[in-house]
């Protein structure tokens, strides 16, 4: 039989397939919008019960959308479709919180580190689109490993560091809003030691001061929002970009992303959310295991810290079992690569998901937390995260279990276009 059970060890695809994949890669540019058929021994659509289809096929339209998904036996690949084969295929992987494109490979402060501006504690007006370098080698690095969508932007480190955005990893330069999925995805804040200003006499210098400043600014934004509602043109306020960004939070147009690790900082974020009624997304959340009920009750999702985050400082009480615990508590969560100040300069989101499986998270839940579940959490499930008709034709191809260390990513498709046919 052509298709057979996959096990966790890596196998080499049929040489004919590999040749086809190579050919597809070599001619990828001129065939950018050719119709595409992806055939896999095991296909993870990441829909319904999240179970894979044995011997599955995905048809992609010339417009870069998914047309059909199903068993090879039920779907005839129309003539003229470019065929790609893999042992395993799944939706392009989503990194639900990264800094790639802003925090560059060289780690040179003046040259390629754009993720944190330290001149003021609260700068929600800083836009990720103005800082993103899609040609940084780390963007390519994650793309060739199967990551097709990143939620990236200003990093933790200031009380309010700036904005984040969501885009595909094949975007080299942003020239218009449509180059992104969301040009303005969230406002990134940090509570706890990680959000304090450096230096004596600088604010915020304590946890309580951080929350007081955040509250004060949200109150200002409420007042600004009220003025904006005035019908009398003369009573309209002068434009204030900082307050505009916070008004977007108050209007629930974008969530406030609060990076916090200590349980008391997480509790402070929940308090603020209750007070101002914004959409809250918790990030990192090392000690969330103390507050599962409260988080669940507040309906707040979590971008869980990388499983391999270093267990020091605010992270010191982190556990590798957090994702499993959140899953058990039915709290929505997604995996992230996070921010790294040294080496490795970026983590790889599905490597983090893999270890969560080793520490108790069911396998399909781990895949979901970097595909369909991540898309839902980020509010982009109408575009990416699953293989179903109408969504973007973003796929990652592997020669074995996508989460296994020894498996290679053998192809990446974004918007129906083969963007990598490397074996990585």
């Amino acid at each position: 039989m052509l298709f057979h059970e996959m096990n966790t060890t890596r196998r080499t695809p049929n040489p004919r397939w590999r040749a086809t994949m190579l050919a597809a890669g070599l001619v990828a540019a001129p065939l950018a919008f050719a119709q595409l058929a992806v055939e896999a021994e095991k296909l993870y659509p990441m829909t319904g019960d999240l179970k894979p289809i044995d011997a599955g096929v995905v048809l992609c339209s010339a417009e870069g959308k998914i047309e059909k998904v199903g068993k090879a036996a039920d779907i005839k690949v129309p003539a003229g479709y470019k065929r790609l084969q893999a042992i395993v295929a799944m939706p392009g992987i989503i990194d639900a919180h990264a800094t790639v494109g802003l925090s560059g490979i060289l780690n040179s402060d003046k040259h390629d580190q754009e993720q944190l501006e330290k001149s003021a504690p609260i700068q929600p007006e800083l836009r990720a689109v103005d800082a993103y370098n899609g040609r940084d080698p780390l963007v390519r690095w994650v793309r060739e490993l199967g990551i097709t969508t990143v939620h990236t932007g200003h990093a933790p480190g200031a009380l309010v560091a700036g904005q984040t955005m969501i885009l595909k990893t094949d975007v080299a330069s942003i020239t218009k809003a449509e180059d992104t999925i969301r040009p303005f995805a969230m406002v990134a804040a940090t509570l706890g030691k990680g959000g304090l200003a450096e230096g004596d006499g600088k604010a915020p210098g304590t946890r309580a001061k951080s929350v007081a400043m955040l509250r004060e600014n949200l109150l200002k934004a409420q007042a600004y929002q009220k003025k904006l509602a005035e019908k009398d043109a003369e009573k309209q306020p002068d434009r204030d970009l900082r307050l505009e960004a916070l008004v977007a939070v108050l209007r629930k147009e974008v969530p406030l992303l609060v990076t916090a690790h200590r349980h008391h900082d997480l509790a402070a974020a929940l308090r603020l959310q209750e007070e101002f009624g914004f959409k809250l997304v918790l990030d990192g959340a090392s000690e969330a295991y103390f507050l599962l009920e409260e988080i669940k009750k507040a309906g707040v999702p979590i971008l869980v810290h990388p499983t391999m985050a270093r267990p020091f400082g605010e992270h010191e009480n982190m556990t590798f079992t957090l994702a499993a615990k959140l899953h058990g508590a039915k709290i929505p969560f997604a995996f992230q690569s996070g921010y790294e100040g040294y080496v490795p300069k970026t983590r790889v989101v599905h490597f983090e998901a893999a270890l969560a499986v080793a520490y108790g998270l069911p396998y399909e839940a781990a895949l979901a937390a970097c595909t369909s579940g991540a898309a839902e959490l980020l509010g982009i499930a109408d575009r990416v995260g699953a293989l179903k008709p109408g969504l973007d034709a973003d796929l990652a191809l592997f020669d074995g279990d996508p989460l296994e260390t020894t498996t290679h990513c053998t192809g990446v498709v974004i918007g129906g276009k083969v963007v990598s046919s490397q074996t990585r």
Partner: protein
């Protein structure tokens, strides 16, 4: 014997005999045994073989390991656990400084290393110096003092190497070198002094020099008694190490060797060993821009003895086996990748006759795994050093070190009233 001295278990008159039965045994230096038996007598491995081939001694405690994997205790050739410190900022070359005098063996990082399946580590000071101090080889026995854990040379002295570095980390403001050329010149100058010191020592009599701790350490390096563990990343820095080695004849292990793939032929020709690291992405510093997962495969192709290291906290000790997975992903053979986390490291520390494989006569340093060592899903269930269990996943206190949680980040074991729950 060693365990009796080291751990105060001298009361035992007859060594405990344990038979580990039914595991897939991966001895590393011999073929895998699908249904194996390993006999441990006291602190040593008495026998390893197929079920049926190995007699289980009368009175032995039999441990059923069906479905499990028996693997050698892992060896990290480059670690910074135990809050190690080396030289200070007063000078770029400080051979007299011993990390022996700084390591906190009660630090939780050692517990985490045991939870990761490590049984032997080379603890080193940092790379911010051309020479930051004498390293120490520790067996991760349970113990309260560094002497309890230290590996001893035949003459009773504490075993270890010396840590050197080149490239950007050791370049800094005065009195540190400002360039690569100056870095090499300063090292050369010190080795010349050490040669002269050694000559004077040899002559003795009136010419005998006064004791100089720095020179004594460098003389040990010149005589090959102390291996140089040399941090180096860029291709040209790697070649500088090889040049200095040729000039002064010291024994060297190249560490990190990010650009090994660029000068793999030269490394092979020099017949030196490499201890390499695997990072989930390149970069983070200029010198690691070109690091490649294929380093392991490229070195293997040329027959270069290669071990892996954690550089903990760069890679947490609990993720050490992922290095082998990434190496295989990039073309290294399974066999060499498994050697690189076990026996290869032992060889670089001159301890391959004692540990690094499951071989009769060696110290009983081993781990029990619940799956294949290359799989990301595999967990370390138990770690044994010299026949004594030092980590057990089923023990809630140990589980904290394995998985993290409240209290796991505390510097010391959390055994008081309020931390464990």
């Amino acid at each position: 014997m060693v365990i009796a001295l080291a751990s105060g278990f001298g009361q035992e008159t007859k060594p405990v005999v344990r038979a580990y039965v039914g595991a897939r045994i991966i001895p590393v230096t011999a073929a895998d045994i699908p249904d194996g038996v390993m006999i441990v007598k006291g602190d040593a491995i008495a026998a390893v073989g197929k079920r049926g081939d190995v007699a289980i001694p009368a009175g032995a405690e039999v441990i059923d390991l069906k479905g499990k994997i028996l693997f050698p205790g892992m060896i990290c050739t480059h670690s910074h656990i135990g809050r190690v410190e080396g030289g200070d900022r007063s000078a770029p070359i400080q051979p007299e400084v011993r990390v022996l005098d700084s390591v906190d063996v009660l630090d939780s990082s050692l517990e985490k290393a045991r939870a990761g399946g490590l049984t032997l580590v080379n603890i080193m000071s940092g790379s911010g110096h051309l020479l930051s101090g004498q390293t120490i080889y520790l067996k991760l026995r349970d113990g309260n003092t560094i002497e309890d854990l230290a590996v001893r040379n035949k003459d009773g002295s504490v075993a270890g190497g010396i840590k050197m570095a080149n490239g950007t980390n050791s370049i800094s403001g005065s009195p540190f070198p400002g360039t690569r050329g100056k870095s090499a010149a300063l090292v050369r100058e010190q080795f010349l002094k050490a040669q002269q010191y050694r000559e004077k020592l040899a002559k003795g009599g009136d010419d005998a020099p006064e004791r100089d701790l720095a020179m004594e350490a460098l003389v040990e390096v010149l005589e090959g008694k102390r291996v140089v563990h040399h941090h180096t990343h860029r291709h040209d820095d790697i070649l500088t190490v090889l040049r200095l080695r040729k000039e002064f004849g010291f024994r060297v292990v190249l560490h990190h060797v990010s650009e090994a793939w660029k000068v793999a032929d030269e490394i092979a020709e020099a017949k030196v060993s490499c201890s390499i690291i695997f990072l989930d992405s390149p970069g983070g510093k200029l010198e690691a821009r070109d690091i490649e997962w294929k380093n392991g495969a490229e070195l293997e192709k040329r027959g270069v003895p290669t071990a892996f290291h954690t550089d903990d906290p760069i890679n947490d000790s609990r993720w050490f086996l992922r290095s082998a997975g990434l190496a295989v992903r990039a073309g290294m053979s399974r066999q060499k990748a498994l050697e690189a986390v076990t026996i290869a490291g032992a060889e670089m520390m001159d301890l391959a006759d004692k540990t690094g494989s499951l071989t009769a006569g060696k110290q009983a340093d081993f781990v029990i795994l619940n799956g294949d060592p290359l799989s990301v899903y595999t967990r370390v269930l138990e770690t044994h050093v010299e026949g004594k269990k030092v980590f057990d996943l089923d023990d809630p206190k140990d589980r904290l070190w394995a998985e993290g949680g409240f209290g796991a980040g505390h510097r010391r074991k959390a055994e008081g009233c309020c931390f464990t729950k």
